[in-house]
Symmetry: D3
Subunit: 132 residues, 6 copies
């Protein structure tokens, strides 16, 4: 495993490891290289860069995916990711509501419905069984 | 002036007052109520809410406008806004680069070109003449 | 209740009161202020303005949401809204078909499928039980 | 000339004949069939249908192009088209402002800037020299 | 039946006749002319043009619909269409993965999920019962 | 230089080396790592994969960028790239016209205007001075 993929997987482990593993399984037969490629790029090249903390990065991603309005599964995964890196539910709701201003009220409403689903499914990191 | 507009104008004054005044002038003849309506909503109702600080809000807005890719003048105004509320140029560049992951490389490249323009035009708040 | 919210609720009552109440319930726990905020802006500030009748406003909204293609629940609510303010099913279908020209055939086809759902669910206003 | 193209050109003549001729010239060398194809479809098949009047159709198109935010030349042409079929400047401004609700404030602001350009360039139909 | 519709139906028969028939049924009551109009335009005017082979055309359509991210039913139909005109599953997967670069990783991941569905449903043309 | 960046730069050299160098210069001061990151991902990880030839890949990219309608500089660069890998002007025009069906007529018209610019600027690869 090269340095970049290693850094990518270490970073995604802090954000949403289950989400990453779900993607790995979902594309394993169709596109067996794709999980490695996107984790190396998204987390190895970009999200692990030191210039911005992971909380700020998840705010940016939640905002963008809410505004684009065509990526509900990824928005859900990043709302979970936001909780995992320390954003509160209220902070995430604020980010999504704010998108009403920039991308329209429907985008914000649909984002809130995704947040409800993500909040319901989220197991706080502290309660997860230890890997060992 | 109602409470909400007052709160809106006080908030936008912290983010990008010149941008707000530019909008006011640009729409004054065509749509004379529109500046008041959007400042009341965007800054009076939403961006002034206490649940999220203005730095985080500008990260969210810069991310969304970069990802949407069809709102260059507003992205420029919010990059200036981000600088005004304390984001560094490097943090803003990180947010924009990150959008390559979620909205594609063209969106990030075009966002960087807008950032260059905003950075060149920006007069640090500290150097602005006092209002008085 | 301020003037603006009152005007907003009076206006939404003409368009799609059930839709507004459904939103109120859906966001009540997550974002308890959001229904008030968006009704005040969307219907209190904008859709109640005298310069354009509600039929024309619903044509505009149905067109935009069909073209954007990422807001099916809101499109459905506004197709019901269009019927409530007096648009015929045929007029709504014409607006949606027209979007094939400006936003592509997939947007129009997906809009028609939303229209079918909205038409099936719609109870003509005249047949609704009286309040009070 | 087939029936459908004839009907298309007759319809576009009511909406924005100069705009249609500008397109014809712009694509004549690159894509010599394209003007005929799109006029036949957009105006021969769709916009000439009797189920919706041209004023309502231009409201729908102005709304959609404002909301999409990536088609300024076509939005400008249809704002001129809206004036030609009898919409007032104020009605057009209302449609564009309304898009702030559904597609975000930046889309509405950018639409208003296009409207200013279209209004400045528009020669009222009544003042045009007669064709003869 | 005019020449153009005939050419359209002959062309769509090579790409995805079942998909076309499904659309015809889905819109028959709501918009009885729409299937004829869109087949005449999409396949009679455009996709039957000799300047580009159907394999290249399906690559273009699969790429665009993946990138737009708001037209899953049509993407599914065109992935089937791509298989019908001779693209391999691997080629289609490459096109979809490539969209991660230009429209972001979520668009590519969602496109792959649509491809899985289309691949599962696809009956190779060679195995279809003969008509007639 | 790692293997992946090397493969990326070799691949982009076949598509549009001048475009790549223009990006490198444009972002050098703002985001000094970004050119390396995106070339490694876009061309090292994705576009150099053996499963799809570069002509098909440029068809896919031209289609997607035309349909998205918010990335004119990148569309221009990829139209040049398409010519460089052997697409004819007529084939590129067909791809762009086809987007009228899937993303609407404005997207196709705006894409044709970008094509005109790209065609005018393009120096056929055969006529370029040799490096060396």
């Amino acid at each position: 495993m090269d340095e970049r993929l290693k850094r990518g997987l270490e970073t995604v482990a802090k954000v949403n490891e289950e989400g990453s593993e779900r993607i790995a399984k979902a594309v394993a037969d169709l596109a067996p290289d794709f999980h490695r490629i996107i984790m190396s790029f998204a987390y190895g090249d970009i999200n692990s860069r030191p210039g911005l903390d992971l909380k700020s990065r998840e705010i940016a991603t939640i905002a963008a995916l809410t505004a684009m309005g065509n990526a509900a599964p990824q928005l859900e995964a990043h709302i979970v990711g936001g909780l995992n890196v320390g954003l509160t539910r209220d902070e995430i709701v604020e980010v999504i509501m704010q998108m009403a201003v920039y991308a329209g009220i429907p985008a914000a409403l649909n984002g809130l419905m995704v947040a409800r689903k993500a909040f319901a499914a989220h197991t706080p990191a502290a309660k997860k069984p230890q890997r060992g």
